[in-house]
């Protein structure tokens, strides 16, 4: 288990290095294009600052990229990162936040997490005078949230799905993490889009994706659904708010030879992008976020805040929809080709 993890870690770190170069280039270009005020002669520094980075977990490509990029960026700007990873355990997450508050860092950056669980502790940090910033989780107690535009992601993915299935048919939906804000927004956008295509139906009951064992569990659940709907065409697509259930679902479709069904997800995990690139795979589309860039942006926001600048409520980092036709281009852009 631990060996497997460290191997993954190394592999991903290499990917990170590759993506860092490409990401900086892309981001630099987009920054200059969009906000010349920030790009012009920007001298950010975190010298002598202790920046706490609290990750809900790093078992997923997105988290790991954002987490590692944040640690790197704090070091690059001359600060000292205090990085903790809760391993997707809420109790551990709260304990770590508690201890972080006692450590009195210059700022805390929280990556993801169930809002109702972390919010009281983010508030305690704020009450203790520690600025709190977040990645991918909007909270009234955070000064700034760096995230992908999840409304855009949800809409793009839903429109791609509806267009792929010709505007009619049944879709299976994984909706296990509605308590996690980005997942909720993506799901709501799916419902919004489907509302205007009366022949598209979300099958009830919806499925619940789980952590851990997400892939195996999705595989089992989809296999059961396929047995329940054995005739081809009775299901057109499978949607999930992230792409790890999509991975399990895609494998289940391939195993059951039901490759006429398409799968949809979010995050741009390399293994899922590979499946989309495979013309025989039922993986339909995956909206790739730029986690490393999101992480770096959050840390730059910390530096700006500590330098006395005012931050916007949310900072959006663009996401890229990868489908069967453009997946090559997107992976190249992400630097994971």
């Amino acid at each position: 288990m631990s060996i497997e993890k460290s191997e993954n870690g190394l592999g991903r770190r290499d990917l990170l290095k590759l993506s860092a170069a490409a990401g900086v280039a892309v981001a630099g270009a987009s920054l200059i294009g969009q906000k010349p005020a920030f790009a012009a002669g920007e001298e950010l520094s975190l010298k002598g600052k202790r920046i706490a980075i609290s990750a809900t977990g790093t078992d997923h490509f997105f988290d790991l990229q954002a987490y590692n990029a944040q640690i790197e960026e704090v070091k690059r700007l001359g600060g000292e990162p205090i990085a903790v990873d809760a391993g997707r355990n809420d109790g551990k997450l709260v304990s770590q936040l508690q201890t972080l508050i006692a450590q009195k860092p210059d700022a805390i950056v929280q990556i993801l997490g169930t809002l109702s669980v972390i919010d009281p502790w983010l508030k305690k940090a704020r009450d203790a005078g520690i600025p709190v910033l977040t990645v991918d989780v909007g909270s009234t107690n955070s000064i700034n949230n760096t995230t992908s535009d999840n409304w855009g992601i949800g809409k793009d993915l839903a429109l791609q799905l509806v267009s792929d299935i010709g505007g009619e048919g049944n879709i299976v939906v994984f909706n296990g993490f509605y308590g996690v804000t980005p997942c909720a927004i993506r799901y709501d956008q799916l419902v919004n889009v489907v509302k205007y295509f009366p022949k598209v139906k979300i099958l009830q009951p919806e499925l619940r994706d789980v952590i851990p064992n997400t892939v195996q569990d999705a595989f089992t659940q989809i296999t059961a659904i396929l047995n329940k709907y054995p005739e081809k065409g009775s299901i057109k697509a499978i949607w999930s708010a992230w792409d790890i259930p999509q991975l399990g679902a895609t494998q289940a479709l391939a195993a059951a030879r039901r490759t006429e069904i398409r799968t949809y997800g979010v995050d741009g995990s390399p293994e899922v992008l590979q499946l989309i690139a495979d013309p025989n795979s039922p993986a339909g589309a995956d909206v790739a976020q730029q986690p490393a860039e999101i992480g770096r942006t959050a840390i730059r926001n910390v530096a700006k805040l500590l330098a006395g600048q005012t931050l916007p409520r949310e900072t959006y980092v663009p996401a890229l929809l990868a489908n069967k036709t453009n997946v090559g281009e997107v992976t190249k852009k992400l630097g994971i080709g």
Binding site: S2, K5, E80, I82, A83, V84, D85, G87, R88, N89, D90, G91, V94, S95, Q96, Q98, T99, L100, A102, Q103, K104, T114, S116, V117, D119, P120, G176, F177, Y178, G179, R208, V210, I211
Partner: protein, 339 residues
């Protein structure tokens, strides 16, 4: 009177008694070795980790250990009454799932508009009920605790899924806010809860005739039966007490996590380790309530110290495992040497 009585050595040992001076040293080391190790760890952290030796931080560790501490103490009662054989002796694997279901019951009731008092009563009742099912399966159906509580664990985890749909249910009531608050010194209320719970159970288990009987039932069932002790009732009672601990831990977890969350089952192994490790903090290497408290705090301080030292969290569980191995094997070796 302490229930941690000096038991006569069971069976004959083939090991030659070591030379006297070494024997004395070993005996002393056995008695105080784990405490010294604990103290050494605390001293090292105090010298190297900033903020470690502050009242707020120590309070934090106590508060953070409250849930696992209460669960492990519940398990300790079963270990005492069921005997310390890991395979056939007392064990309650349903405890973590019990906490999950109890938390879910609490949150569901408050969401339905019931008062904190009702929710507390129902939650502790839920825990007691799970304990009763365990007791019936073990004591009256005669199933080995390992298997009986494993089965109950699955049933309970399933019930929790039914109740929560495997989602996070938020909860916020005046009682829960009070429980997750801190006193003016920065010590969390949960820390006091842990100390209070430990004090009460210690009083019952270590200092009453009832507690002494529990030890007798666990270590020498035949002698206990010959002495006319109600074996079945005592063992059943231990499982119910453990179940109640699960219910209490459920309430604490609702306040700590501001609701009921998934993944309660992940607590199981850490709790079992904590309870088993607790034995090294007693002179006779038997499970005791205070020993379990110390062991829960040891784990808590380790995790806390590592974070304060900014040691990568990926290393923490590995180092923790190594330290536990060292402490346990050192004590076991010393014990053999003493015998």
């Amino acid at each position: 009177m302490s229930a941690e009585v000096e038991f006569a050595p069971s069976g004959f040992s083939a090991v030659e008694p070591p030379p006297r001076p070494v024997g004395n040293f070993a005996a002393a080391a056995l008695r105080f070795g784990s405490l010294i190790a604990f103290a050494a760890i605390l001293i090292i952290f105090s010298l190297t980790a900033p903020y470690f030796l502050s009242i707020g931080n120590i309070g934090n560790v106590l508060g953070q250990s409250a849930i696992s501490g209460v669960l492990a103490i519940g398990l300790t009662i079963v270990l005492i009454a069921g005997g310390s054989n890991v395979v056939t002796g007392g064990i309650d694997l349903s405890l973590a799932a019990n906490m999950g279901l109890s938390a879910a019951v609490y949150v569901s009731l408050t969401q339905l508009g019931y008062s904190d008092a009702t929710a507390i009563a129902a939650t502790i009742l839920t825990g007691a009920l799970i304990g009763t099912v365990n007791a019936i399966a073990v004591v009256y159906a005669g199933i080995v605790p390992l298997l009986a509580t494993l089965a109950v664990m699955n049933v309970v985890a399933g019930l929790e899924l039914v109740l929560t749909g495997n989602t996070v249910l938020p909860a916020s009531t005046p009682f829960l806010s009070a429980l997750s608050a801190s006193d003016p010194f920065g010590i969390p209320v949960l820390a006091y809860v842990l100390l209070g719970f430990t004090a009460i159970t210690t009083a019952i288990v270590q200092y009453t005739p009832l507690g002494l009987r529990l030890y007798a039932v666990g270590e020498f069932p035949d002698a206990a039966r010959a002495a006319g002790l109600p074996l079945r009732r005592l063992l059943a009672g231990a499982f119910v007490a453990s179940g109640v601990s699960g219910g209490i831990a459920g309430i604490l977890s609702v306040s700590y996590l501001s609701g009921s969350t998934t993944g309660a089952g992940e607590m199981l192994l850490p709790v079992v380790v904590t309870a088993l490790l607790g034995s090294v903090f007693s002179r006779r290497l038997v499970p005791t309530v205070t020993g379990t408290l110390l062991s829960a705090l040891l784990v808590g301080f380790l995790v806390n110290g590592f974070q304060l030292l900014n040691i990568s969290s990926t290393l923490v569980s590995g180092v923790q495992g190594v330290l536990i191995l060292i402490v346990v094997s050192a004590t076991t070796l010393l014990r053999r040497q003493e015998a």
